[in-house]
Symmetry: D2
Subunit: 444 residues, 4 copies
């Protein structure tokens, strides 16, 4: 059976195929000459499955879409403070090719404008890095995001260098403010190499999925960015990624995204997917016309907006039963389900911390919990610890070790961990046997 997803993507492309508005970038020969009929889309899941439609294997230069990735690479290499000291994170209403430097410090307002991206590039490899070194850091870094070896298109780079007046202007202005300390000419050459790395929408979708997955490449499994840096990159894309249409984009589309003048556009839906389109005709902001429209369609059709409230969830607490065991002890068994973050953990904690003098044995059934984050885990541990402090016997039914507890867990020294209802029954919870079938039924 054919998956309906490719059909859906095909249909989406067709809906926008004959929109001829916009024009290819005119200031770079290779971009001006791009075939404006090319149209492609690719969506990558967090486990690296890709759905594509159209000219998904067509290669084009990455251009400004390199900015968030190289920002991440620089943050990893140099640390947040060193980079923030040089480039801010504030949005600017100005177009991407204006200077947008802080009036006082001359510091670029953010890394998504050219001034910021040139500065970030200049930091690669540390002071004194050569053009070749910086170019290789860029190429190798972008390749790690893409999960395959990318390459610089020397012809495109040569063409851009011919017309790089604006970037030369910006780099020299930055040098005059002391923001860039190396030779501005070398920085521009390196940055143009960065912009000239060739990608396909398939690569961009994987690169986006790497950000969506918290920094881990879904194809290679490599951790490219740490969670903190990954969050920083997404935060900056969210506020500064779409230049002067940021507000419109974030209300209408609602995914952190980045476009390039080659016609590429990619977006990140954290925890779900990476997505990319290609269509060379640009609007006045330099963003692909059909690409942006496809993103709008998909955001609406697939409910991708990050501000969409999730559907009302069933309670994280699936069952909450009490039994008297053979010894006459009151046994309480709370069964959890789903993904537990702060809100879920709060829900659990609220239930299990309600004053309950009668209970002697507290059992937490984690079998249907399919994820729990660190904060939630710590909250549940703390709740169990408090129950122990109150003198209760605590049992954890956690065959897949969702809680990550072991007998050595210092926080919960006395917790008893079992792998199945049977084991639970086998604890000397005498009399519990009596409720066994009922329990089994409920949980089956």
């Amino acid at each position: 059976m054919r998956s309906p997803i490719p059909d859906f993507l095909d249909a989406t492309l067709e809906r926008h195929r004959y929109d001829l508005s916009g024009a290819t970038a005119d200031y770079i020969p290779d971009l001006a000459a791009a075939d404006p009929t090319k149209l492609a889309i690719c969506i990558s899941t967090l486990d690296g499955v890709e759905y594509d439609s159209g000219d998904a294997d067509f290669e084009f230069s990455i251009q400004s879409m390199s900015k968030p990735f190289i920002y991440g690479i620089a943050l990893e290499a140099l640390g947040l403070p060193a980079v923030l000291d040089k480039v801010g994170v504030e949005p600017t209403g100005e177009a991407f090719n204006e200077l947008s430097l802080d009036k006082t410090s001359g510091k670029p307002l953010n890394p998504m404008i050219n001034a910021g991206a040139l500065t970030v590039h200049s930091l690669l490899g540390g002071e004194g890095a050569t053009l070749a070194e910086r170019t290789e850091i860029v190429r190798a870094g972008l390749s790690r995001f893409a999960g395959r070896q990318l390459r610089v298109d020397e012809h495109i780079a040569a063409g851009e260098l011919q017309e790089a007046y604006r970037n030369i202007a910006i780099a020299n202005m930055l040098r005059s403010y002391g923001v860039i300390t190396d030779d501005p000419d070398e920085v521009v050459r390196g940055y143009i190499n960065q912009c000239s790395v060739l990608v396909r929408v398939k690569d961009l979708a994987i690169m986006a999925a790497t950000l969506a997955g918290g920094g881990t490449n879904p194809l290679t499994g490599e951790r490219v960015l740490s969670p903190r840096v990954n969050r920083q990159v997404l935060g900056v894309m969210m506020t500064c990624g779409m230049y002067d249409a940021a507000g419109d984009w974030m209300t209408e589309v609602g995914v952190p995204a980045k476009s390039g003048v080659s016609g590429g556009l990619f977006g990140v839906l954290p925890g779900q997917l990476g997505m990319a389109t290609f269509s060379p005709r640009l609007d006045k902001h330099g963003t692909s016309v059909r690409g942006a429209k496809i993103f709008r369609s998909l955001s609406a059709d697939l409910g991708l907006h990050i501000m969409n409230a999730p559907e009302p969830a069933r309670s994280i607490i699936r069952r909450d039963r009490r039994f008297v065991d053979a010894k006459g002890d009151m046994v309480r068994i709370v069964s959890l389900q789903g993904a537990i973050q702060w809100a879920g953990a709060e829900n659990v904690m609220r239930e299990i911390t309600a004053p309950d003098e009668a209970v002697d044995v507290f059992a937490l059934d984690m079998r249907r919990v399919y994820s729990i984050n660190e904060v939630a885990r710590r909250m549940v541990v703390e709740a169990l610890r408090r129950l122990e402090d109150e003198g209760k016997r605590v049992v954890l039914l956690d065959p897949e070790n969702a809680m990550g507890c072991s007998g050595q867990d210092s926080a919960l020294p006395d917790v008893e961990i079992v792998d199945s209802p049977k084991e639970l029954r086998d604890l000397d919870l005498r009399g519990l046997r009596r409720v066994r079938d009922d329990f089994a039924d409920q949980t089956s």
Copy 2:
């Protein structure tokens, strides 16, 4: 047993209590006279449970924190186009009291700056609404967010009116551009009434939780905003809520938020919680110093940043088994678990649409699915429909009707819906009886 959450909030407040930096707003007498030692926090869950610490019952004026709520109310009443025609959604690097009008149209850049908020206020009640009518729309609307009847503090309003030169300036400038069409003086009076509505951090937390829950008040269950409007409000808060420190806030804290010069500050973590703080001393941006620091602490401690990638989830597919039934038909039973959004549905679809000539009967076990959103539901329906088209028999084990299917579902006319494994067995899947115990065990 005492919940650790209040302890944690108490500890957080104590950590920041002796930070004396900043100053109370000096241009409004009642604000200048505010007790700067006041300190409070409240977190509300999506089911309306509130955790608070400090002066959580202390009342203060809502000030600019009214802006997103009244924006939502105006959007509901007038529709998006009518409001977007008057007020943009683009961020501005300028301070909140500057004009920030679009150079060409005179339209305020966004509804979070005073020019935008005054314009939004002027739209309430339609052309010709009186001051009293607008004030009541505001009071009643904010009350619906708070889940209790709020009131305007006339004394504060009178004091602000005395010093309302800047708002009078802005309203008149807007009137001169034709953005406001009513009497600017009336608009300012109404807006000051809006700013003078009294709230407690407890109210703000519920108001924030209403936004976090997609527009539904967790206390009253009332749907205050439609999902589309709710998303618009959050989108604008995200890009424009923190004025000229937007980028820093969204990278560091990562929750849409809004502050008021009275010292209040609230934030929204969609799908999880609403949160509010109160501390009157302000930084140069007019944001509560301790409030902002507490938000930074909690964002880090509780992992609240919206760009945090969720923990790697276990697969949405819990089991995928095949049996041969008594008739010799190949039966496949796929059991799902957790919350299913696009990414999960894609995962399911991928599995069930893989070419599989051998299967005659396909059963989908939805019992452990605790939420599924509309897009995912449609995707699964489409996959099942295609299986039917291929001539397979399709059975849905969905006792809680997560899929929302009925026999009349036009998309799936032939699907058989059962409520329990027993029913599944009772279908004339002869021979399936043979695998029954195994199946029961696996799924229990």
Copy 3:
């Protein structure tokens, strides 16, 4: 005989009469309703003779043309420092109705923009002055410039007040910055009264001629502004008078000027004339279209540009003769001519301070000097003093007392002052009689 000047003015008006471009101001009812065919010009000499053509007796409101005059009145009343403390003198590229406040201090950039003019108006009469008092100061002050009693048109003022949103906005913004300390509403009302004073081009030409003549009204002979204040007003008009077209105006037309949205326009050529036009249709800067074109014509035709270098002057030294008198003393007689400023005085000084041991008697013939300014006078006095110090006898032939010397002049205690060549001959310059005829001839 008819003077050719009126013919020339008539011809100039005719050349521009059928230029229908521009539009009357649309935001004030009385201005919008103005008869756009009206066309007038008037030039006033420094002795108050007026040449006019067209609708020269038509009355219209003075509007922004009041700004430089009221600036002068405020400077006289309060002194330069008090006014400069509130309003700057820097040009702004922005349109007249923008705020144009200094980013830091909130101080209006100059008194020719509305923010500055409102602030200047607010200073009139000192703190606590009433609306009526300020209005009368304005009316009386403008009347002194015009040389006749002007009046406020209450109907125009009432109409402007209806639509005064922008000025109310500006005044309130200024109040919020503490630049204006009185009630902003009263200030706006007073300023609108100021703008509603009725004038004719005839009045404006006299008002302009008052500035051209150093502050003295050519009709009444009243000194309205001191020279220092008059210079300040002209300096500000020169850099800030024509808003955002200042550079174009000062290179093309080259006279300090000011326009009003009623259609009036006046210009000042210091030392020569005042000039005014009236034509209600305005360009996008709010300046009369035909008025500006007429100014351009006249500047070119009449050589009015203040940066026109004067024609090469004949030497200020008309004759320099030496004679031996009867006693055998060498007598030197230097005859000056024309208007002497610094450059002329330098020329004189250079000649008379050249080492010249032979001369015993030095006579300076001032009869053909028709003006000498203070600096030049002091320079000549100093030169003569030095001659005396060298032991020479100094005689001043100055029948009209151009040098303002008397026997009591402390700087020149010993100078001998004579009224005619005959007196000079009658001094006991014996032997001079011998050269008398020659001298008489030369100087006749």
Copy 4:
């Protein structure tokens, strides 16, 4: 006898010598290393006499002071429209090193900012001019203003080129907008050569005097700029010369001026003098601290402000007498004096065009007129022509041919021109002899 002018200049320098505020320009090695104690002044008269004090022979680089001169050279070579098409004439509040380009066209706002000066430089020699050609045009052109051969200091130029990041930035930005069409690097090199031409205050004073004299070098007598271009240069200096302190400078000092970061500063008082100072310590605007203070002193002390109204002049009409000649004809003799511009000519015209049926012969005595400009000349000619039209006999007593009339003057075909009172008497104005002595006396 020693002239008091040098003493005065010496005293002025001494008054400011120990003002140590400001700092030498730090971004160009040779400027940073400049001896900050150097102090010089020079004033040049319009006939090329120079008064100097201090280190008047010290050579320094001309820097930005080259801008107005090269602007003039470009205007002469290419015509106003070609240059205005590339560079505007509007002032900007921004500092000299900001881009200050027109938002829409990318055109530099004026030729006094670096963007404008680079563009003007790029126009020299036409499209395709080489660096060497442009440098020689600059060197030769500045030399014509200075009246001696100047030279480029290669060492300074090499030093500036090392740190020319900002100019490279600006030139490349201009190239990206198509304002500059040549290689931006070559333009910067040429412009730095322009800035590195060596001058002394003595040279600058002569250069300034060339502008003050309408474009004619007072030393060499060469006409360097046409009057129209000269006026354009001065107009732009007046509105844009002093960057963001333009308003303050024009109200306080009141002479068009230009400073350079080397510490030089020159000013132009049209029709009177050129003036220059040198002192390397600069204020935050990049203007010499002591230089600016000396200009303020001198403007006040010497009454140099261009908006100073001239002292009230004696009437241009010295005598107006009537006689009856021997034939019984009424003869009117009007004697003029001084410098006649429009205002004077108007005065004359007014008198001689008053209805006066009785007069048969009209004589105009021009002997005491020491200058008359073209407009005034045309006005007087027109008045005389009209008298002739009325049938009057017109006689011009104009021994120095101030009116530039000859027998062939087509406008005045019948005027009789005489050289002396005697000639006037000798015309067959019979009976005039009778009044001869009286006339002779009055005019002697």
